[in-house]
Symmetry: none
């Protein structure tokens, strides 16, 4: 076991102004590669507190990951505190300086004295390259314990970990292999999945762990095992996956790190189908879910966010009569939106969402959480309805999930 502690530095965390997502993502990354996370600690931007914490950690940890407390302005004192803790001076790192300069040049901005000082590091550290930002990561060693300091900006931290810190930590500590196999499901509640696979679960060998990880209408089943022989562990887990897949049937959309939107995108690319999206209640979230990933332009022609009834009629060709008779949140409107976006944009497939996302806008007949989604291709146009939650953002995300799942089920059949 390699005991790992995760420290976050920042008054803003203790004031409750910033949510500490780094502890969460670092824990996941470290657990995945066989380190044992013992504790998360968040502390203030205060020299003595940082010194005390480092001292305590050095007694119990093999790895200490520290996020935050680095940045160009005066509230950041972390680097000097490290120098004091390790009893060393500071030096200006030429490579970091060049990197900071190039970042500023590429953004067409002028560097200040403060920015130049970002290249100053304690003399005993190995610099860890921060490709996405100006504050470098730093690797320190003392009495067999490794301290890694990284900036607090989550996407910088994540990138430093994936690209630099984790490979070096694995090289340094050679942790046991932890192998995870994941089965990604959607549309079936956790308790029902558990019922369907109960017998298989009861027969799992005790050294294989099973976790249900639910998230927004999707449930990940994760099998975990560890040891020195990676191939043997992988083979054993793959055999268990093979056994359980038939019990889960079409709830399964993918394996390991596949995402629902990624699986749907791949199906569309393979079949060379184009997609058009008409969104009312999801307000751009469904399109955004596809376009966040590179390569969306291979199948995604475009989307119409038809927030007003006017746009539903003018651009999508929804009939005034339909809206008057059934309302904007109705099976009929959803059907006409899906067909309308397919025809207007000239795509193979059209999908549509309309609903009462909330928080307000509900009626007795159509309470908050009433959602219609629709799918249209040249052969059929179909709609489904859901009664979701009272929470606006949750409803938006669950609706996008539902329409992606409807699209997936259609695509695997045509």
């Amino acid at each position: 076991m390699i005991p790992t502690y995760i420290i976050a530095i920042g008054d803003e965390l203790l004031y409750g102004q910033t949510l500490n997502t780094n502890a969460h993502s670092l824990s996941k990354m470290m657990t995945d590669v066989g380190f044992k996370v013992i504790k998360h600690i968040s502390i203030a931007d205060d020299k003595q507190t940082i010194l005390d914490t480092l001292e305590q950690m050095a007694k119990v940890a093999k790895v200490v990951l520290i996020t935050g407390g680095l940045g160009p302005t005066k509230d950041d004192i972390t680097k000097k505190t490290f120098a004091e803790y390790f009893n060393v001076g500071m030096r200006r790192d030429e490579n970091v300086l060049k990197h900071v300069q190039s970042l500023f040049e590429s953004r067409g901005r002028m560097m200040t004295q403060l920015n130049q000082a970002q290249a100053d590091v304690p003399t005993n550290c190995k610099v860890i390259h921060n490709a996405l930002g100006t504050a470098p990561g730093m690797w320190f060693e003392k009495d067999g314990c490794v301290f890694i300091s990284m900036p607090g900006v989550p996407y910088e931290t994540k990138n430093i970990m994936q690209q630099e810190a984790i490979p070096r930590l694995i090289e340094f500590f050679k942790p046991p292999f932890i192998v995870h196999k994941k089965i990604q499901t959607v549309g079936v509640p956790e308790s029902m999945l558990a019922q369907n696979i109960e017998e298989w679960e009861n027969n799992l060998p005790p050294h294989i762990g099973l976790a249900y990880l639910p998230h927004l209408g999707r449930v990940t089943l994760r099998l975990t095992s560890e040891g020195k022989d990676k191939q043997k562990i992988e083979k054993e887990l793959e055999e268990q996956v093979k056994k359980v897949l038939p019990l889960l049937q079409e709830a399964v959309y993918g394996l390991d790190d596949e995402t629902l939107e990624g699986v749907v995108a791949n199906l569309l690319k393979e079949k060379k189908f184009t997609l058009g999206i008409a969104e009312s209640c999801t307000g751009g979230h469904t399109a955004r879910t596809f376009t966040q990933n590179e390569g969306a332009s291979q199948f995604f022609e475009g989307g119409i966010i038809a927030y007003s009834n006017d746009v539903k009629m003018k651009i999508l060709g929804v009939k005034l009569d339909t809206i008057v008779k059934y309302g904007a949140v109705s099976q009929q409107t959803a059907l006409e939106m899906a067909e309308g976006v397919r025809k207007t944009l000239g795509t193979k497939i059209g999908i549509a969402t309309t609903g009462v996302a909330g928080t307000g806008g509900g009626t007795d007949e159509k309470p908050v959480g009433t959602i219609w989604i629709a799918y249209s291709d040249e052969n059929e146009t179909v709609a489904k309805t859901y009664q979701l939650t009272k929470n606006r953002n949750l409803n938006i995300q669950l609706t996008t999930n539902a329409v992606l799942n409807l699209l997936r089920k259609k695509l695997i059949k045509i």
Copy 2:
């Protein structure tokens, strides 16, 4: 100062399976009422670890808030560990038992032995009512330090704090007031802001704290002070805000908890202007930024996600000639998109984004991160360009920020 420590218990936190949002929301609530949060700690569901942590806390804390480790299956460890720590036995609380029974009845479910045991508490605790769940909150006192244990389900924790724990803590400790004033800025880097306000910052009285909180092209400046006379502190901070605002000029988009999209939404609502959005590189993210908030339908008519050139031409009326001559990522295309969406949707204002979000798709002439945004109303149509980063998702968010900021600057002038 009333030193407050926030402890979260749960293996799932250390595995990186659950994000600890309780530390964040409890910190905000406690800070708002004048308690000083010193540290967040997350630890495993393990008796000895919990005992050690309680012992350490008792030496330095006045208040210890503990979340998690309560529930029908985990109950035994945390509650019995408390009883052991305080050296007392357990008792069954009749009020809690009745409450648990009534919750089960209202959900039409049967109680198990495990559920009945949820009414067991250490004999020295005062029960804190958990209106939304079955695991009671518990208040312990030892040597002038208050320990409050709550379940880990975020909405239960929040409700217990607001309804029960905070009023009792204020009554018990009579804390000083902590006041924050925040200035929200966009479009100017942290280091340049710092230069612009350097003299003011150097002249701040030492009892007023200043922090720079950067986030995706926006920087929050936070002033903090505390004392017994809330009105006096507020007045002093407001005077400092008044002094610094002219130095920051139009980088400031709002104060305190205002968001950029909220400020723009309010400007549009006040002026009764309607908005249409044409997105290429942001792929729905800009519309999504508005529609995540309730009331967007008051000004947001709709959006066209014109991902393909075909949709740019067919729906937005961008000229083929323009695309052939200047390319889809160009000033001319951005201008025609903004004007096109305004005319097509019949809105007062149109905004548009087009760019090379990345990761691929860059050329020597237009590298990844080349972005054009445009604004159009009946009097003018203007475009701006940016050279952003190599990171796709960051580029999408920064582009949305930039177009919101352009829109804001136009709206405050017309």
